[in-house]
């Protein structure tokens, strides 16, 4: 199996994997330095093939491209969108130093890995903010939990767990997302309020981070106010994120996260 997956490096470098293989291989890449280096070098080689097919574009393409980019804002380097702590030590994470943060190990130009690492770097940045005291607010439940009603909702059950952790995040537009996690119950739930809709044709997708891998924790339903239990194993996860994905969701995160929290330091 391991040998098999290594052998996909060439096909990956020329986009000759189907969607499922691609997702599998990108997960593998996240943890395989050898493959990252090989893919990067094979992408250098494949790019040379384009030297043999150079074709001058139509005369008006240049104008169209330049007119279009004038209306589109370049994405920021690697800073998480919507972090609400301008003075937090993590928000200034320099793009060029970012690759040394988090779990990075070496080089690749695989887009998927780049995205994954962006997510991880973003996570690191928010952790730093959390240490500053604005995002992470661990809230051990003070009340004893012997009086649990027999019919607690999932969110109540988690909120009343003795080891509940609470991560509250307020977006610049006033929307709020609160994550409650109980390791002992292996459950977590996100409670959103006043969340704006995802862009046209897109959805919000929740993720749990396990080591270097982001595992889908389900799609967020439409609507501003939701209570969303996370799929997967929150107990063993290291972090949580929300990204914007094409309708139907993705197997690996493909966009800058709108929210990331790291459990480890909570």
């Amino acid at each position: 199996m391991s040998d098999d997956i290594h052998a996909l490096s060439g096909a990956y470098a020329v986009d000759a994997l189907d969607d499922i293989e691609r997702a599998q291989f990108e997960r593998h890449l996240a943890g395989c330095e050898t493959c990252r280096e090989e893919v990067a070098s094979l992408q250098e080689a494949s790019a040379l093939l384009a030297e043999t097919t150079m074709t001058p574009p139509g005369a008006d393409l240049r104008d169209r491209v330049l007119a279009q980019i004038a209306t589109v804002r370049p994405l920021p380097p690697v800073v998480p969108v919507g972090t609400d702590a301008p003075d937090g030590p993590g928000t200034k994470a320099a793009p060029r130093s970012a690759p040394d943060a988090g779990t990075s190990t070496g080089s690749t130009s695989a887009p998927g890995t780049r995205r994954l690492r962006t997510l991880l770097v973003a996570a690191a940045a928010v952790v730093a903010v959390g240490v500053g005291g604005t995002v992470v607010a661990q809230q051990p439940w003070a009340d004893d939990d012997t009086s649990q009603a027999p019919r607690l909702s999932a969110v109540e059950r988690i909120q009343q767990a003795s080891d509940v952790q609470t991560f509250r995040h307020r977006f610049p537009d006033g929307a709020e997302a609160v994550l409650y996690r109980s390791a002992s119950l292996n459950e977590a739930v996100v409670v959103t309020s006043d969340m704006g809709p995802a862009p046209e044709g897109k959805v919000f997708q929740a993720w749990l981070q396990h080591d270097d891998t982001m595992v889908s924790a389900g799609l967020m339903p439409e609507g501003p106010d939701n209570v969303v239990p996370l799929e997967g194993d929150p107990a063993t996860a290291d972090g949580f994120g929300i990204t914007v994905e094409p309708a139907g969701g993705s197997v690996v995160p493909s966009e800058t996260p709108v929210l990331v929290v790291q459990f480890a330091d909570a």
Partner: protein
């Protein structure tokens, strides 16, 4: 090729005859510098469009793909990391992915009915082959491709220019399932080593 020469020849400054550094242009573009992006476009548009045409074939659609690719390059310029590859490799990776996404989604919409005959069809961009031949680099690449075994070369070209998955390539070349990916990888490695890139 004229677009490989310095673009800012009209500048009143030193006028050093140095081609623009693509990494510098990307960095500036990432900061919103549209002028720098225009230079980047001029230096790379024939490659981007050429690859899109080769994969997508329909010239109008290829230009759409090229436009999508340039938009993506503009949006994500700040995420280019020189430690992880050359600017050109990064640009062509983005372009190729866009082109492949286009042909695969088109294929899903209308299951390709012309079969595999395309290999024998004249390719529309042949009219520009003259220009491509003029490129020394293209000549070197063509030469390097000759060092591949025929099967390696076919598998690589079907994957990269055809936009086919390795499984489809295996079927097209009557290779045992699982073999095409090895041929593609071997071919790329030989191309890489012959051209001395991606150390």
């Amino acid at each position: 090729m004229e677009h490989l020469r310095p673009v800012a020849t009209g500048g009143p400054d030193e006028g050093t005859p140095v081609a623009p550094d693509l990494a510098d242009l990307l960095r500036s573009a990432g900061r919103g510098d549209q002028q720098a992006f225009a230079q980047l476009y001029d230096a790379t548009c024939s490659r981007v469009v050429g690859l899109a045409v080769r994969v997508v074939r329909d010239p109008a659609q290829a230009e759409e793909v090229a436009q999508e690719a340039f938009l993506e390059i503009w949006r994500t310029a700040s995420r280019y990391d020189p430690d992880r590859g050359s600017p050109l490799s990064w640009l062509m990776t983005i372009t190729h992915r866009k082109a492949v996404d286009r042909v695969r989604s088109a294929e899903a919409a209308t299951r390709r009915d012309q079969g595999y005959h395309h290999q024998n069809q004249p390719v529309p961009h042949d009219v520009t082959a003259e220009a491509a031949h003029a490129s020394l680099e293209a000549h070197r690449v063509r030469h390097a491709l000759q060092s591949l075994t025929p099967v390696q070369r076919q598998a690589l070209e079907l994957a990269y220019f055809g936009g086919y998955t390795h499984t489809e390539v295996a079927s097209m070349l009557d290779l045992p399932v699982g073999t095409a990916k090895t041929r593609i990888r071997d071919g790329l490695i030989r191309l890489r080593d012959t051209m001395g890139v991606g150390s």
